[in-house]
């Protein structure tokens, strides 16, 4: 194996190179997106790019710390870390600070810390710890409920703090559970529910019901053996129809207007041109600006620090959630495809390493890391390009912010540490 050739350096260098690539490229784009006027000093901490450079510097200190801790520490203290993270989330309700309507920050002097960024790796550790327990069997409903509880606690706490985007991230653990033995039927159900929800919203409950009837009927008649009772099919049909109806009700009454409009724009539900125009000015404003910025980059981009829309700050929140549009404008198709490729390679590398782990804890944790990175990557870039509805979550290692950068770094480097320990089991 590779790392046996590197006796002095036992960490997976491919992961580290991909990580560095993202952090450095991310910093350059934050510099572009956040500078106002001339850049006098790269260390000017009154500017966001100056702050981010410090975050990046501290990240390396953090990495050294994580890698120097013994690998078994993470497994042993997984539950405690999870507990601390949950307490930190709960503490927000008392000590937290409102930023843009979300109560997800602690303010310490001029610094702010977002505990939800740290809750991700904590949850990943807890899940790994629970699943790798000898007594746990993912095929039993009891244990399925237990893991669900582990992810629901942080998800609900974060949702209560008005940070719907970060809540969605916890769906990532579905991939972990599935890998660790969750029955196939859950996958089928999950996919069916997504399809039903979209069909119901786009074409209405009636058409959804008709499609479901036709599908079930064809399954019934094609299956000569074990086709089961016709009543089972009818029950499934009723469940499907009620779900679709429920989604519709939730869409109409359960969502806040801006969330509703985002979905409406995504599925192109709005027919009234005047209202559509208003929505484009409000909910779709960021997206339109971001798509324009990306398109205007063309194949090779306008050049580093040369993006006219980036310089003019046309895309709101461009240094955080919309950082990918800066890549699009200034580095063009070459830059954006490089970023996409880097993420895909990083995730695949982690999956590959995870599958090679001897300890189940490391494997499950590795899967958790890959899944969380994957969900962030998909939602963030998908949103910035208009492929999925607007959900505000950062692009890992790329977006501005200390908590985010550190949260993802810890998440990744705990795995790098666990992986390095593979040959030298405890």
């Amino acid at each position: 194996m590779l790392r046996e050739n590197h006796r002095g350096f036992k960490f997976d260098w491919i992961t580290i190179v991909l990580f560095l690539l993202l952090v450095v490229f991310g910093y350059l784009n934050i510099l572009s997106a956040s500078h106002v006027g001339e850049i006098t000093s790269y260390f000017d901490t009154s500017q966001l790019y100056g702050k981010h450079l410090i975050f990046v510097g501290l990240t390396f200190v953090l990495i050294v710390l994580i890698l120097s801790v013994e690998a078994k520490f993470y497994e042993r203290f997984a539950s405690i870390i999870y507990l601390i993270a949950m307490l930190a989330l709960i503490g927000l309700f008392i000590f937290g600070k409102d930023v843009n309507g979300a109560r997800s920050w602690y303010g310490i002097g001029s610094m702010t810390i977002q505990p939800s960024e740290f809750a991700k790796f904590a949850t990943a550790l807890a899940i790994a710890k629970f699943i790798s327990d000898i007594e746990t069997n993912m095929k039993t409903v009891k244990d399925q409920l237990k893991v669900t509880a582990i992810i629901f606690i942080p998800a609900i706490l974060i949702l209560l703090q008005n940070d719907a985007g970060s809540t969605i991230v916890y769906l990532a653990f579905f991939f972990v559970f599935y890998r660790e033995g969750l029955q196939q039927v859950y996958l089928i159900i999950a996919l069916s529910l997504i399809v039903l929800a979209i069909l119901g919203l786009k074409f209405g409950v009636l058409i959804t019901a008709i499609i479901a009837t036709l599908l079930l009927a064809s399954v019934y008649f094609l299956r000569k053996k074990n086709r089961g009772s016709i009543f089972q099919y009818i029950i499934v049909l009723i469940v499907c129809t009620s779900f679709s109806y429920g989604v519709k009700l939730f869409y109409e009454h359960g969502l806040k207007p801006h969330q509703q409009n985002r979905i409406s724009l995504w599925l192109r539900l709005e027919k009234d041109p005047a209202k559509l125009e208003r929505m484009k000015k409000a909910e779709a404003y960021n997206l339109i600006q971001s798509e324009q910025a990306i398109s205007s980059g063309g194949v090779t981009g306008k050049g580093f620090l040369q993006g006219t829309r980036t310089t003019g700050k046309f895309v709101p929140e461009q240094h955080t959630d919309y950082i990918f549009s800066t890549v699009g404008e200034e580095w063009g198709f070459l830059g954006t495809s490089l970023v996409v490729l880097t993420f895909v390679l990083l995730i695949i590398r982690i999956l590959y390493l995870a599958e090679g782990q001897k300890s189940q804890f490391s494997r499950v944790y590795g899967y958790g890391v890959a899944s969380i990175l994957f969900v962030h990557f998909t939602i963030n870039i998908g949103m910035v390009m208009g492929l999925i509805p607007t959900v505000g979550i950062p692009l890992p290692f790329f977006s501005y912010g200390g908590s985010g950068l550190w949260g993802f770094t810890i998440l990744l480097f705990i795995f790098v540490k666990l992986d390095s320990n593979k040959i030298n089991e405890w």
């Binding site: 398109s295 205007s296 194949v299 006219t308 996409v340 999956l351």
Partner: protein
Amino acid sequence: MRKLLLLTTVILVGLVFIARLFYLQVYNSSAYNIFEDTAIRKVYKYPKRGYVYDRNGKLLVANQPSYDVMVIPREVSPLDSLDLEEFCGLLKITKEDYQNKLKKARNYSPRLPSPFVPQLSKTDYAVLQEKMRKYEGFYIQKRSLRSYQTNIGANVLGDLGEVNRRIIKRQPYYKLGDLIGKQGIELSYENVLRGVKGIKFIQKDRHNKDIGPYKDGIFDTLPKPGKDITITIDSELQAYGELLMKYKRGGIVAIDPQSGEILAMVTGPSYNPNLLVGRERNKNFSRLFRDTINMPTFDRGLQAQYPPGSPFKVINALIGLQEEVVDIDDKFTCRMGYYYGSRRLTGCHHHRSPVDMNAGIAQSCNAYFVNVYRRIVDKYDDAGKGMNIWADHAKSFGLGNYLNNDLSVGRKGRIPDGNYYDRQYGDNRWGSTYIVSNAIGQGEVEATPIQLANMAAAIGNRGYYYTPHIIKNIEGDTIPSKFKTPKYTTIDKRHFEPVIQGMFDVYNKGTAQSLRIPGIEICGKTGTAENFVKIDSVKTQLTDHSIFVAFAPKDNPKIAIAVFVENGYWGSRFAGRMASLMIEKYIKGHITRTDLEQWILTHSLENEYKKPYSGEPFKINGETTLQVIPEYGINSNSKDINFKN
């Protein structure tokens, strides 16, 4: 299997992203164009448009600043009713106007600037400028408008108007709201006069505020001022011509034969060029343009195409000599016309007979020229060949085609050739007797006053002319060499003397005796053109057009002129008098024949022009009485000089 779910999903998502990026950035993305980039504000600075001077250095056209309110529709944020009211008040428009104008601009383009309210007055501008910041999406563009230092020469000077979309499409230099030369020298010297506008690229932020020059201004340009030009017009002569043309319709073109420079180019009726400046321009222009009775925008000196009549006879005399079918001493009898067998092909007036060339020209004998013309056409067995040779000679005087000069309008005129009649009558099914009208400048021959003036210049120069042109000097540049090279006619120099002597005798003892100017040897030729209109679809004859062509002095001529007065009757009556006065004015600088001047100033043809519209029967030519203008109060020598050409 379980291991593959996330892996395949990751790869799938990666592929979808790359595809989407390819669509956005490669497939759907056009090459970067800064003019399309809404993040960059383009601020234009308009250069000074070149001034126009007359040949004596008198300033004719200068500039004045003008301020347009421009709008970029997508940047407009809705105004509350109070602001809207104030804004409309400042612009002096109604709220409906506001909505309509905004809609019109948006229909043109939501992201490109359109003029919203053009050409504010200075006081309106001063008030508005202070408050402009409040109205997002609107800004004030400074431009320069023309300021005419004269009331004459509207047809020469032309005017500026807003570019239309067709022009913008063809010439992307122009943006909506820009001004461009529409007529006259403003049109023909647009590229010289306009200069090049400067542009500044400014980086905007999303609140539409300027945050600094784009790329430190490396793409910015300074405006390049337009070049001043001097035109060949003598503004005093032009003004005098316009004065003489008052109460008449027609055209005068005067040329310096030694250079082809156009000294005066009068059309009547004309208008004050100041009418076509400022906010009222479009209204005034369409009023002038729609006046189909007076047609003030129709330049009669350049565009009025008629059979030239008798002045064309001298061309036939020259061709006859060149083709050696007639000798200056050859005499022809005239029996009050030309007879072919017992059929009279053309009439003539009373004069002594027979006539040689000199008398033929001086007395303008129709029979003489039909004889000469038939000899030219019948020189060869094939009349078509004879006609083609005749046409080539005539065309070498600049007739029958565009002069290819620097005027914005013109007509070809017509010199028929053999093919023309082959088409008319069938191949070879015609002969010289069919087409004798050409001998006396009637029939199919047609010419414009500027072509006739140029013809006179070519005769005066004894066989060459310079393309008549209006540009004398361009600041820091040279004028096109085509205006400096002589064009030779196909007639040998030696043939001109006898013909010129004939034209001199027109003044000396012929049809223009009474128009002599003391001290100036003028050579001229009178002419008339019959003309018809349709009144209730009945072809009705009107009083003849009065035509006169001349040059002076006889040797080394300084001026060649053609005058054309609609329905002025015979040639020396209006056109001849005016030509003599113009020649005296130009050569002497003052008028000694005040009797001629008085007569012209006090006689009007306006009731003549009303006749076809009166709906009543009317008389023409000799049966009419001339209208005298009362305000001049002179009831003097309305006695007409009774010569027929």
